[in-house]
């Protein structure tokens, strides 16, 4: 005889309601709600000096638009807010943030004479000063590669070289920075459109729109993008007050940054800091659409090549030899 099947679940027990005197009365409910709210509100009564509210929690940052989509009024408001913020933070009243747009009929291009470069890293330090790059951790947009003479192997190069004096006769030097590609892979992979190409050919980043996914860092074949793994630290008092919204304004943890051809300088008709500071004059900068510019004359008369040309990124950064 098969045994009678046991019921799977225990018999349902009748639910015992709590006695009515232990139930929450309306009065209790209101009182406790009030107490809880007061406890939370007590937090906000702490002096604001003690609680360092992160920038991202401010109203201005929370209701922010993409730089391209902002109306002129919004841009003005945003710039005013940031200027106030940075002036307080860096104790420098000279700080101004420009939003100069790309000039018409201009396509910036760069050229570098690897026969002349001596690898002294003056360009790197000028870039650091001009573009407010972090000193701790060290953030440098330009890498000067030291390559053995007779070789074109970038993989075998290194940029941490130390000598008493340069150039070392066994090596030649090849600075690499953002190549401002005409077909930029970093822009293609950005999931939030936080990086884009301006009309004058400069690839820029909206630091507030970047979510820090680092796809662009992986996509760049020139190792030109840098990521803020920690909060950047600056030289005390050494901040460059001449800033651009999508250029050298101070960055923060979790954002990507890169060379912008010194957008705050080039758009006001000045040479980038690395060009001006190169002691041997190996760096050239100009408008690719102007037949009288250095760049056009260089391309016409010198032996010119571009780095990793076979990738089809069409860099606007030319290397040449006299």
């Amino acid at each position: 005889m098969p045994e009678p099947r046991q019921p799977r679940c225990a018999e349902p027990q009748p639910i015992e309601l709590r006695p009515p005197q232990e139930r929450v009365s309306r009065r209790d409910f209101l009182r406790r709600t009030g107490q809880g709210t007061a406890a939370l509100a007590a937090l906000t009564l702490l002096p604001k000096d003690l609680l360092h509210v992160p920038q991202i929690f401010s109203k201005e940052d929370f209701c922010l638009h993409h730089f391209v989509e902002m109306s002129p009024a919004e841009v003005e408001q945003r710039v005013a807010y940031l200027e106030k913020l940075y002036r307080e933070r860096f104790h420098d009243d000279r700080i101004t943030i420009s939003t100069v747009p790309a000039p018409e009929g201009v396509l910036w291009a760069y050229a570098l004479n690897i026969g002349k470069c001596v690898g002294c890293r003056r360009c790197v330090k000028a870039c650091v000063g001009e573009n407010n790059q972090s000193r701790d951790p060290m953030m440098e947009w330009i890498r000067v590669l030291e390559i053995e003479k007779g070789s074109m192997e970038i993989e075998g190069s290194h940029h941490y070289y130390e000598h008493e004096k340069v150039p070392d006769p066994a090596y030649y030097y090849m600075p690499v920075q953002c190549q401002q590609c005409e077909n930029p892979p970093c822009v293609k992979v950005c999931p939030t459109h936080a990086t884009w190409q301006e009309k004058d050919g400069i690839v820029v980043v909206d630091y507030n729109w970047c979510i820090g996914c680092r796809f662009c860092l992986a996509a760049c074949p020139y190792f030109a993008r840098r990521f803020n793994w920690t909060t950047p630290t600056y030289h005390a008092g050494g901040i460059n007050p001449d800033m651009h919204y999508i250029g050298n304004r101070p960055r923060f943890k979790g954002t990507m940054e890169k060379c912008t051809f010194c957008i705050q300088r080039s758009r006001t008709g000045r040479y980038p800091a690395c060009v001006e500071s190169c002691p041997v004059g190996a760096r050239k900068f100009g408008n690719l659409l102007d037949p009288e510019s250095e760049i056009r004359k260089l391309i016409a008369t010198k032996r010119v090549f571009r780095l990793k040309e076979e990738l089809g990124t069409h860099p606007k950064f030319f290397y040449f030899i006299d």
Binding site: R121, A126, E130, P137, E162, H163, H235, P241, G269, V280
Partner: protein, 247 residues
């Protein structure tokens, strides 16, 4: 004699709850303070007479050369001038202080005596002599091959006699360092500003220090994350204290 102690009377429930709330609030604010996520303001530092250095000695860094230059001038223009001195400089018009123009000139190449022997003429590897470039009769000017006498400031014309392609490149801004604006560029120096005319090969230069190696990732979890967890826990506890069921 041991008497059974009467249990201590507990403070009323509302007082206990208030104490918990106060304690948590203080604790969290202290945690925030101690965790470096809260910063005493400048006003506070001024009030106490102690700067940020007291707690953050490493935050105040010595500015680098570029930073110092910014501090003083507010721009990078001209920063390099102090670092890369001109290799060669003669004040125009000072040669005649010694060389009287009425002297008879001996044009024969020979070994020079003091004070000129310290400037060995390496240019041209022995093919040149002083009077290749300097005028024999007027020491304050330079002389082209065609006999034209030019001031020192026009030295590129003299150099261009042999170094034609480089002179042309320099005129087209392809050679040398150019400053100024993109619409009005100007040469930072003329030929003799960078190349010593008596020994034109570039000398080795000191270099700036390299970038640091990337630091190892931190082992401990991020502090803001811990703080956020603490805040969540506190809010949960407070909510439980306020609304939780009591048996």
């Amino acid at each position: 004699m041991n008497l059974p102690r009467a249990p201590l009377p507990l403070p009323p429930r509302s007082a206990r709850r208030a104490r918990v709330v106060l304690h948590s609030t203080l604790c969290i604010s202290l945690l925030l303070l101690a965790g470096g996520q809260a910063h005493a303001t400048v006003a506070m530092a001024e009030k106490t007479g102690q700067g940020c250095v007291v707690c953050h000695p490493e935050d105040i860094r010595v500015p680098g050369p570029a930073g110092l230059y910014y501090q003083e001038n507010g721009t990078l223009d001209g920063w390099l001038e102090g670092d890369f001195q001109e290799p060669f400089r003669f004040e125009e018009g000072t040669c005649t202080d010694c060389h009287d123009e009425t002297w008879e000139v001996d044009p024969t190449p020979r070994k020079l005596e003091d004070p000129h022997d310290d400037k060995d003429l390496k240019h041209g590897k022995g093919a040149f002599w002083c009077l290749t470039c300097h005028s024999a009769n007027k020491r304050n000017v330079l002389q082209l091959f065609n006999g034209e006498q030019i001031p020192w400031g026009e030295a590129p014309r003299l150099c261009g006699q042999c170094h034609g392609p480089i002179y042309r490149d320099w005129q087209n801004r392809l050679h040398g360092r150019w400053v100024g604006t993109l619409s009005e560029p100007k040469p930072a120096r003329i030929c003799t500003g960078c190349h010593n005319p008596h020994d034109p090969q570039f000398k080795l230069v000191p270099l700036e220090p390299a970038e640091d190696y990337p630091a190892a990732p931190p082992a401990a979890p991020d502090l803001p994350f811990v703080v956020a967890l603490g805040v969540f826990a506190f809010v949960g506890l407070a909510a439980y204290a306020a609304f939780g069921r009591r048996d």
